[in-house]
C-alpha cells in the first residue's frame, strides 16, 4: 500500500491511497496476476453509512467486509490503513486469540468503531494511539484532519505506539513529514528493503509535484496525487484500488486499477 496526506495550500489537506493486497496468495503465471487481488477487484464498493437520513461516514470497501480500510467523516477526519510486517505479527495475535485471550481488537472492527464513535480528529487520534489497546496485528494508521492541515502516520505495535510522523516536523521539503506524509509498508525510521522500495519513488514524485506547483510549495491537487499513485512501483500488480479523499466534502473517489506490463509484482 501507499498512503499520502499532503497540504493543499488552501489551509487543508488531501488524503489518497493505493490499496495493495494479495501478496504470496497465489500467482497466475498465465495471466501474470495475483489471484486474490483479481478476486477482490469486482467486490469493491463505496459505502455511505447513513443515520437519520444523513451520511455519517463513507468508506471504500469490499462487499462482505463490515470494517474499515479507507474512510472519511465529512469535515472531520479521514483514515487509511497500511499493512505492517512485524516479528510479533498477526500470527502471535491469532494464536493468543485462539488460546482464549480475547482482549485484543481486530483491525476492521476497531477502525469501524473509530468512525462510529468519533466526531473529530482528536478523538480518532486518541482512539488509534491508546497505548493500552492491544491489536491482533500491527498496522500503520494514516490519519488526516478536515479542520486543520494535519496529516499523521501512527505506527502501531500490537500493544503500543512505536512511532508517529506528522506534517510539519521535518524541514527537508522532499521528505515525508514536511508538507506531506507518505507511508508504504515499512517503518518510517528504517530504510525500506531494496526489493520493495516504494518509498523513494513516491518521495521523488511528491518532490516533483512540489517543484512543479505554481506556488512552488505547499500546493497540490488530487490530480497530482493520482499521478504519484499511478507511477510504478507505487502502482503495481497488487494494487486493487486508488482512493482520493476530499475530507471537507466527505467524498471518496475510488478507481479500480490495472498496472500495464511490465509491472512489478509488488
Amino acid at each position: 500500500c501507499t498512503s499520502i496526506v499532503a497540504k493543499d495550500g488552501k489551509g487543508g489537506v488531501i488524503h489518497a491511497r493505493n490499496m495493495d493486497f494479495g501478496l504470496f496468495l497465489g500467482f497466475d503465471f498465465k495471466n501474470m496476476t495475483w489471484s486474490l487481488t483479481e478476486a477482490l477487484r469486482p467486490s469493491l464498493i463505496n459505502i455511505d453509512f447513513v443515520r437519520d437520513g444523513q451520511t455519517q461516514f463513507t468508506s471504500a470497501s469490499f462487499i462482505g467486509y463490515v470494517g474499515i480500510f479507507t474512510a472519511v467523516r465529512q469535515k472531520k477526519f479521514s483514515l487509511t490503513i497500511n499493512e505492517r510486517f512485524d516479528v510479533d505479527g498477526g500470527w502471535v495475535g491469532i494464536i493468543e486469540w485462539l488460546l482464549g485471550k480475547h482482549s485484543a481488537h481486530w483491525l476492521g472492527f476497531l477502525t469501524r468503531d473509530v468512525f462510529e464513535k468519533c466526531d473529530n480528529f482528536k478523538c480518532a487520534q486518541d482512539y488509534l494511539m491508546q497505548a493500552e489497546m492491544t491489536l491482533v496485528s500491527p498496522v500503520y494508521f494514516v490519519l488526516a484532519s478536515g479542520e486543520d492541515p494535519i496529516g499523521q502516520i501512527i505506527v502501531r505495535d500490537r500493544e503500543d505506539v512505536s512511532e508517529v510522523v506528522t506534517i510539519g516536523q521535518e524541514e527537508d521539503k522532499s521528505k515525508s513529514g514536511s508538507w506531506f506524509v507518505l507511508q508504504t509498508n515499512y517503518d518510517p525510521s528504517n530504510e525500506p528493503p531494496f526489493f520493495d522500495d516504494r518509498r523513494h519513488p513516491g518521495l521523488k514524485c511528491m518532490s516533483e509535484l512540489s517543484s512543479n506547483a505554481a506556488s512552488g510549495d505547499n500546493f497540490i491537487s488530487k490530480e497530482g496525487l493520482f499521478d504519484v499513485l499511478s507511477t510504478k512501483p507505487n502502482l503495481n500488480m497488487l494494487t486493487v484500488y486508488t482512493s482520493l479523499i476530499d475530507i471537507k466534502a466527505g467524498i471518496i473517489e475510488t478507481f479500480v486499477r490495472e498496472c500495464p506490463f511490465p509491472c512489478t509484482p509488488w
Binding site: L25, G26, S35, L36, A39, L40, P42, S43, I45, N46, I47, F49, V50, R51, A60, F62, I63, G64, Y65, V66, G67, F69, E83, G89, G90, W91, G93, I94, L98, W106, L107, G108, F109, V136, S137, V139, D197, H200, P201, L203, K204, L209, E223, F226, D227, V228, S230, T231, K232, P233, E253, F255, V256, R257, E258, C259, P260, P262, C263, T264
Partner: protein, 119 residues
C-alpha cells in the same frame, strides 16, 4: 537520490487522472445505521452475492493450497470465536450471511482477513 531504472520503475506520471491505468469505478451503496445490525447488510449482500461468493471461494481455494486443514479448522472454530466479537458486528456479519447465502464462518473469515493474511 532515487532515479528510476529497470523495467519496473519509471519517471513520474503526469495527466493520468481520471482514466489512465484505470479499469473501472465502483458503485456506491448505502448502509442504513437506523436498522438493527442483523438487517443492515441483507439487501446489499443479496445484490452482490455472486461477487462475494467468488471472492470468498477464491480465499478458500488459496487457503486450501497452503494447507488443506486450514479451512475446516476455521469453519469449525470461527463461529464460536465470533461470539466474543462486538455483538453489533457479529449481527452485521450474520446479516451478510443471510443476504448472500454464504456460511457465517466464511463471512467471519473474510472479516478477519487482514490478520489472517498478515499472519
Amino acid at each position: 537520490k532515487y532515479q528510476p531504472k529497470g523495467p519496473f520503475h519509471e519517471e513520474c506520471q503526469a495527466g493520468s487522472y481520471p482514466t489512465k491505468r484505470v479499469l473501472s469505478k465502483p458503485n456506491t451503496a448505502k448502509i442504513n445505521l437506523d436498522l438493527p445490525p442483523i438487517e443492515r447488510w441483507i439487501e446489499l449482500s443479496r445484490s452482490y452475492s455472486n461477487q462475494l461468493k467468488a471472492t470468498i471461494n477464491n480465499v478458500i481455494e488459496l487457503a486450501d493450497k497452503i494447507d488443506s486443514r486450514i479451512v475446516p479448522f476455521v469453519q469449525e472454530k470461527l463461529p464460536k470465536l465470533a461470539e466474543t466479537l462486538p455483538q453489533d458486528y457479529v449481527d452485521e456479519m450474520k446479516s451478510i450471511s443471510s443476504g448472500s447465502g454464504l456460511d457465517f464462518g466464511d463471512i467471519v473469515l473474510f472479516n478477519v482477513f487482514y490478520e489472517a493474511f498478515s499472519a
